[in-house]
Symmetry: C2
Subunit: 201 residues, 2 copies
Amino acid sequence: MIRILLADDQALVRGALAALLDLEADIEVVAQVGRGDEVVAAARESGAEVCLLDIEMPGLSGIEAASALRAELPAVRSLIVTTFGRPGYVRRALDAGAAGFLVKDTPARQLADAVRRVHQGLRVIDPDLAAESLMAGPSPLTTREAEILRLALDGSPVAGIAARAHLSEGTVRNHLSAAIGKTGATTRAEAARLAQANGWL
Amino acid sequence: MIRILLADDQALVRGALAALLDLEADIEVVAQVGRGDEVVAAARESGAEVCLLDIEMPGLSGIEAASALRAELPAVRSLIVTTFGRPGYVRRALDAGAAGFLVKDTPARQLADAVRRVHQGLRVIDPDLAAESLMAGPSPLTTREAEILRLALDGSPVAGIAARAHLSEGTVRNHLSAAIGKTGATTRAEAARLAQANGWL
DNA sequence: GTCGGCTGATGACAGTTGTCACGGGTTTGT
DNA sequence: ACAAACCCGTGACAACTGTCATCAGCCGAC
């Protein structure tokens, strides 16, 4: 019997995945949480062996949760299951110690198999995404540039970004200019959009 | 036996919802599609009575699919089930003839009940979202303003928007200026973000 | 029929943004 | 020790953006 923890902030999806996995004779959903920062405690309590983690969650992201799991409960294996197949996510998930990475548009019948493989200690990675991830390469942005771009996501003017980052406006514009150049964009809004689509933020 | 069609572009979610609903004795999933433009044909063929429609789908949006269903198969009832609880979506869904509107973080156990109510001819609307939708009121944007804002979503400069819209740059800036004023934003990126969050695009 | 709103356009203006060159500080690896 | 990268900042300039006034054609409502 494979003991599973489900982490997804959308209750309906979480419940539906539970129903799907409970159909399998050798799989048992032993815990469900809706926040990333509840994963470790729930995994410890329930004695889960495999954690299915969504990335977009309040509290901690699925990737951060995988990292925390590796640190606290190294025996537990993480399988990231997410909506967005952003190239950068794959690398970051693997760096965080995740054993697998699936996108939510893989066929439902493959999920149980992925869980079994991860449970056996194998790696499971969406092949299309793996290729894309290798093509795209790592993020070209420096820490600071990514940080500034994240603050630019909401469309606020330079003055607002500078205030939130505690930087001078000139410095912010320099970072943005660098980010625009590196992403191949022409405006900061486009750069922010591209960087997010690549999972660089 | 309530005959259901599932429409969601994420195969995993679709399959999981099918598993969840098939647990109910009086509900049967008779069709599944991953695109909005396959809904009507599949509903006709399968003799579905209730359609669960995601909004974000390739081909046609769930709202457009509901509209098409009302026109072609008026006996079929539509229940919108979506990730984003954008106020404007509720109104547009109801205008399109949808019988219900749920967000994906409602508890899984409530889904079957919602399906039954919709099947009985009742309306089912997420109460929080209904309130928010009434508060927010209808979109303040004119058709053209919304259209221009949609083109501004990717962060391209005015010249690019003007080219795609076949308008002069001056006119585009006028529309954007109006949209910025109406949304209470200070830049077009912020206006586009706000408008999208409200479901006005 | 006239008024008001939407649409398209122009021109002008101030303010913001993107770019560049430059300088100084820190850390990292050789 | 040194180079290379990063970070922060300044100042200047051209380009772009947001705003406003103004005009004109086209509806639909009263």
